[in-house]
């Protein structure tokens, strides 16, 4: 029976809770949560937010690694008409203050273990309410701090906006996801309900997802890839088996077998870890139907090895951007060998073109910039009209990704216009790290580059020029970075130079710094 169409993101949860209330939506940390339970909790949160006079369009930050609370909060905020601000749990006080402050979030939903980032009580003035699960900290001003567990267990009946009518519409903002760009601060990508719904429908279609699918989730929900895993599986009434630390891959593999998962999603480093540092060859996965990879093309050897180890699983290589709600293209599993290195063709509802700087299509096999059109394309960057105008022109998204297209229309990514670092699942702006390095009193000049890494794709190298007469070593620089940056943004390598290599016009020779490994 065809599913009732939805136009708002939270209607996916409402629909699945109605169709299959007792079905497991989430399995995480020993807990099994049904769709009915998830909806009841989301309604409690939504009712509480409405009671506290959350206005439609108000931003609510979510910072937690508890999957049940994250998913509850995600749908609860949307039901109340709010805008979800998904926050990476690998954060720092500085990053958090910047992100919540910039989008003027009124509420933060979090867990006790992240309160350490909020200890200076005046850290984010816009946030009037901080709801904390796992025990509210003592000694903090009570008016601002609320026990989130109590909120989620209080039945507020129908005191919520379930989105059945105005004021939330498909063109209303649903979510802001921060993503690194070319500037020193990450951009807040604004996604409407219609963007997320269009992308979810397309992904469900090409992955042929049904309520029988059970996905192993190792990627964080706060990134657009993880977000799309959440939405697609809630949309079909499938199950999410969540283990997002991925510290011990063998534990994840055993969980995949025990939970009979049908799907697995990763970035290139996820698969590199599985193939090089896990016992994957010693297990069998009879229920595994498909694998997806985004965040980079799949190396021919990797694709070959995966097919050998998991012959029954379809391998989908995909390409996308946060600015496109997640997904722009996919390579059909049947083309994995024939079109090795390609990210495939546009997903349903999306048009991809490869254009030159003047907006003219380039010839077959020539390099140009990927320009995307579709209902999944973002509304813009929060509070950055100039940056938005740079990438969104007449409704078309200029991705900044350089690619060529073959005679059959398959896209091959060849690079990026910017010097963004891609390390594991993270996109990292060198400018953000340089800004922190330059605040260290001993540092005169700094440049940050990505250097090749077998597992992560790239690791971060900081090239530092120290002020005359000042002493400073690697540990000092790293300690400073770890104090102010999330762990994944801290450099792995530090090189001290007498001066940075520059062009005659004063631009730093980035390629030269990359080669000095």
């Amino acid at each position: 029976m065809p599913l009732t169409p939805v136009s708002l993101v939270h209607q996916y949860l409402l629909r699945s809770a109605e169709r299959c209330p007792s079905k497991e939506a989430l399995i995480h940390a020993g807990r099994r949560v049904t769709y009915a339970e998830l909806l009841a909790r989301a309604r409690s949160l939504s009712g509480w937010l409405v009671e506290r006079r959350l206005n439609v369009g108000d931003r609510v930050g979510i910072l937690t690694d508890d999957a049940r609370d994250y998913v509850t909060a995600y749908f609860g905020v949307l039901m109340a008409g709010g805008v979800v601000v998904s926050l990476n749990t690998q954060t720092s006080s500085r990053v958090l203050a910047s992100q919540l402050g910039r989008c003027q979030a009124s509420t933060l939903l979090t867990h006790q273990k992240f309160v350490k980032y909020l200890e200076a009580d005046d850290i984010i003035p816009s946030v009037g309410t901080i709801a904390v699960a796992g025990g509210c900290p003592e000694g903090l001003p009570s008016a601002r701090w609320v026990d989130l567990d109590r909120v989620l267990y209080t039945d507020r009946g129908e005191a919520c906006r379930d989105g059945d009518g105005p004021p939330v519409s498909p063109s209303s903002l649903a979510q802001i996801i921060f993503t690194s760009g070319t500037t020193a601060e990450p951009h807040g990508v604004m996604l409407r309900h219609s963007n997320l719904v269009a992308n979810t429908e397309a992904i469900v279609q090409y992955l042929r997802l049904t309520e029988h699918d059970r996905l192993m989730v190792v990627l964080p929900f706060s990134y657009s890839y993880g977000n799309s895993l959440l939405l697609t599986h809630v949309a079909v009434g499938g199950s999410l088996v969540v283990n997002q630390t991925f510290l011990y891959p063998n534990t994840v593999l055993e969980q995949m077998i025990a939970e009979r998962v049908t799907g697995f999603s990763g970035v290139p480093s996820t698969y590199a870890i599985l193939l090089n540092r896990s016992a994957i060859r010693q297990y069998q996965f009879p229920d595994l139907r498909y694998l997806t990879q985004a965040g980079g093309p799949m190396a021919a050897k990797l694709g070959h090895d995966l097919k050998q180890i998991l012959p029954q699983a379809d391998v989908f290589v995909m390409y996308g951007q946060t600015e496109a709600s997640a997904r722009l293209s996919y390579l059909d599993p049947g083309d994995l060998v024939r079109k090795a290195g390609s990210v495939g063709k546009a997903i349903p509802g999306v048009t991809l073109r490869v254009l030159d700087a003047e907006g003219r299509p380039v010839g077959i096999g020539e390099v140009g910039e990927i320009v995307a059109t579709g209902y999944n394309i973002m509304a813009g960057y929060w509070g950055e009209p100039e940056q938005t105008a740079r990438v969104l022109r007449d409704g078309h998204l200029w991705t900044g990704d350089l690619a060529k297209m073959d005679g059959d229309g398959y896209v091959y990514i060849v690079g990026r216009q910017s010097d963004m670092i891609k390390s594991g699942a993270h996109r990292i702006s060198p400018r953000e790290i340089e800004a922190v390095l330059l605040e260290y009193p001993a540092v005169h000049e700094a440049a940050v580059v990505g250097v090749p890494d077998e597992i992560l794709g790239e690791t971060i190298k900081a090239c530092v020029v120290v002020k005359d007469g000042v002493r400073c070593d690697r540990q000092d620089v790293l300690a400073h970075c770890h104090r102010h940056l999330p762990p994944y943004m801290a450099p792995h390598h530090v090189e001290f130079l007498a001066e940075l290599p520059k062009t005659s016009s004063g631009k730093i020779r980035v390629a030269e710094l990359r080669e000095r490994v």
Binding site: L247, P249, I273, A279, G424, R483
Partner: protein, 84 residues
């Protein structure tokens, strides 16, 4: 054993606890629960162990029981080094 523990603690402090917090790490604290190490950190830790103590870690040995605290690591290293 005390020497092995000391070396592990020093390695963890120099590579993962750079913002201070060495004193707060107990020998039986789970790296996973404390969020001290990420997935690539575990791989770096394993490489360090192999290089420093001269044995190879099998892929099947990459499990929390062997690796997920200073105590567990120390016991694992002792066991590996004791093998002929």
């Amino acid at each position: 054993m005390a020497d092995v523990e000391h070396r592990i603690r020093q390695y963890i402090a120099e590579n993962f606890l750079l913002d201070g917090g060495q004193a707060a790490l107990h020998n039986d604290d789970s790296f996973l629960e404390k969020g001290i190490i990420d997935s690539t950190g575990v791989l770096e830790l394993v490489n360090w162990m192999e290089e420093s103590f001269g044995f190879e870690v099998d892929d099947t040995e990459l499990i929390p029981d062997n690796l997920d605290s200073i105590d567990r690591l120390a016991a694992f290293i002792e066991r590996k080094c004791a093998k002929p």
